[in-house]
């Protein structure tokens, strides 16, 4: 069973979000990293860029497939996890310990799931 952590918000596209005041930290869930397999490349967003929730914000590539990361929240990118450029496999090692980007002035949509909601959602997938 994929690991889901209490206190985070989740999207149906399998991103996790940690919301603190007006900032948010985003990464991909255990389910996502497991489904992707060994990650070999992450293309990070530009610091300072604005995105709306639902926009494609970053690319992630594994030995199996290339996928887009859909940002679950809107806002202004304030920081990216540079360590992923050389060591994208950190996401496989600990996906909740290694964020992908941070945002300021976040706009949080109401349809994000809590840990329980996300677990229930995972159990409906084939």
């Amino acid at each position: 069973m994929s690991k889901v952590i209490e206190g985070l918000k989740y999207s149906k596209d399998h991103e996790w979000v940690k919301i603190e005041g007006t900032t948010a930290t985003v990464g991909i869930t255990d389910h996502a990293q497991d489904a992707l397999g060994e990650i070999v490349f992450v293309e990070l967003p530009e610091v300072g860029a604005d995105f709306e929730a639902g926009d494609e914000i970053a690319d992630i590539e594994s030995v199996k497939a290339a996928s887009e990361i859909i940002t679950p929240v809107g806002g202004n990118v304030s920081e990216v996890n540079d360590a992923l450029e050389d060591s994208p496999e950190l996401i496989n090692d600990d996906c909740y310990g290694h964020f992908i980007y941070r945002m300021n002035d976040v706009v949080v949509p109401d349809d994000l799931l809590d840990a329980k909601g996300y677990e229930d959602y995972l159990s409906t997938l084939k």
Binding site: M1, G37, E38, F41, V63, K64, A65, S67, E89, K126
Partner: protein, 489 residues
């Protein structure tokens, strides 16, 4: 040191690595004509060409050894889903090596090329009939090239009708990766359409995405789950009502030959892969060919030159339709000798034979699916068309043996692995397409191997993590290959 000589890991050095200075396999006679003036410096190379210096025997042995390390459909079962790796009848090679087809030049006078032109004309006629289309072009040299060409025709059609606002192409999430790539290359914006719980196009999602900015939808039918899109007529009328066109990716046409026609389903443009459905060499053995066929309204926009038959003179010729054509998409006639092979296949099979081929392709896939679903999970458990998808999610969770491990394990049993991790909507997917040319014995054999591999997974997954153990090349480091690719010698 001994490790290098391990009998199950014979590595053949490149020919240039085996080279010995001055060793050669030829002897020229002394020059008995005046020596020509040396090349102008502009054209002369300034370093010695690094060509392998080897004897004829060294060279023959090198390639003979390499041929024993390769795997092809002439060697064994090749159930690579979505690729239709059917047997290529040898009669195709007989016709494709006839002088009249090989010893010609594309710039020869049309009068001296009547046989070749007639063959292309008749191939287009037959393909149009099989697909329910009006006419087309044989120029595209591969499947994705056919997609690119088909979408270029759609783009040109809307340009001609002053509807350049139609810049979106809808593509199901389960589609072949080449579909969004071809749309993107043509300057279209790609939008995904969801798949519903039946594994088919989600009609509500489609409805919500249709408007006057949609140029069309790209579908393959049966889809990449091996399922027939039952709502295709409904989908066609929805898209047409919104002013868009339907593109048929012929990758999976092997399920339908002589049974159903994309044209009758409502498709406006199709491409076929002669190297899949029409038994011409596929993969490293290419080249391929991706003919594009269209409905009447789109004929003016096909690549030029068109091939025509002049009834008055009884002769075939080229016609340049520069006014409306989407342009030229390859040199001269495309891969002509591939077309010769495909035409040979069509004639040698006949219409009943093509029908029987599709029937058997579907029967073989269902037979395998029925045997395998006793031990493996089938996410869409219904009668399939020519291919089916297993999900190894549960097995992986229980034993840590993944779809990749099982696929690699099959190599040790002497089989080419199926397609892995595709379509992406199925986790730990293995996709089998047996094709019509395999016997029941072969299908029983691979199913037995699959069941044995599952047993091994339950007992000793570790062994499978390191498979294949008996191939020339063992488990490759895919992560390193992706992160640090060495793409030239």
């Amino acid at each position: 040191m001994m490790e290098e000589f391990a009998p199950d890991r014979i590595v053949e050095p490149l020919l240039v690595e085996q080279a010995v200075p001055k060793r050669r396999g030829y002897l020229f006679a002394p020059l008995d004509v005046p020596q020509a003036a040396p090349l102008d410096d502009v054209f002369a190379r300034n370093s010695v060409a690094r060509l392998p210096e080897a004897s004829e025997l060294d060279t023959v042995r090198h390639f003979s050894k390499l041929s024993t390390m390769a795997y092809g459909v002439d060697y064994g079962f090749y159930p690579l889903g979505s690729c239709t790796m059917k047997y290529n009848p040898k009669v195709n090679e007989v016709t494709a090596s006839m002088e009249g087809f090989t010893d010609i030049h594309p710039l020869q006078d049309e009068d001296s090329l009547q046989g070749c032109l007639a063959l292309m004309y008749r191939t287009l006629k037959d393909l149009s009939e099989l697909l329910g289309m009006k006419w087309g072009s044989l120029q595209a040299c591969a499947g994705a090239h056919g997609e690119y060409t088909g979408l270029k025709i759609i783009r040109t059609y809307f340009l001609h009708h002053n509807e350049m606002g139609r810049n979106r192409i809808l593509i199901p999430v389960s589609a072949h990766g080449t579909n969004p790539a071809s749309a993107n290359m043509n300057g279209f914006e790609v939008q995904e359409v969801a798949t519903d719980e039946r594994g088919l196009v989600d009609l509500n999602d489609l409805e919500s995405k249709l408007d006057d900015t949609v140029a069309g939808i790209m579908l393959t039918n049966p889809n990449t789950l091996g399922l027939f899109e039952k709502d295709i007529r409904k989908i066609a009328s929805m898209v047409h009502e919104a002013g868009g066109l339907l593109y048929y990716d012929g990758a999976n046409f092997n399920a339908l030959m002589g049974m159903a026609r994309p044209g009758d389903m409502g498709f406006d443009v199709v491409h076929l892969n002669l190297h899949k459905t029409f038994s011409t060499p596929h993969g490293g053995g290419g080249p391929g060919s991706g003919p594009v066929l269209v409905k009447k309204e789109l004929v003016p926009f096909i690549p030029q030159p068109d091939i025509v038959y002049h009834e008055d003179s009884g002769k075939y010729g080229f016609k340049w339709n520069e006014e409306t054509s989407c342009g030229k998409v390859s040199g001269f006639w495309g891969n002509f000798l591939v077309v010769v092979r495909a035409f040979t296949y069509i004639l040698s099979m006949g219409s009943d034979g093509l029908k029987a081929a599709s029937r058997h392709a579907v029967l073989n896939a269902n037979y395998m699916q029925a045997l395998l679903k006793k031990e493996y999970s089938v996410p869409y458990d219904v009668i399939c068309k020519h291919e089916f998808v297993l999900s190894l999610s549960n097995l992986k969770e229980r034993t840590s043996v993944s779809a990749l491990d099982i696929a690699k394990g099959l190599i040790d049993f002497g089989y080419h692995p199926p397609t892995m991790y595709f379509p992406m909507i199925v986790h730990e997917a293995l996709m089998f397409e047996p094709t019509e040319t395999e016997s029941k014995d072969t299908l029983d054999g691979i199913c037995k191997a699959m069941l044995q591999l599952k047993d091994m997974a339950e007992k000793d997954g570790g062994w499978l993590h390191d498979s294949p153990h008996h191939a020339v090349i063992g488990r490759v480091d895919e992560v390193r290959a992706a992160k640090n690719p060495v793409v030239r010698y």
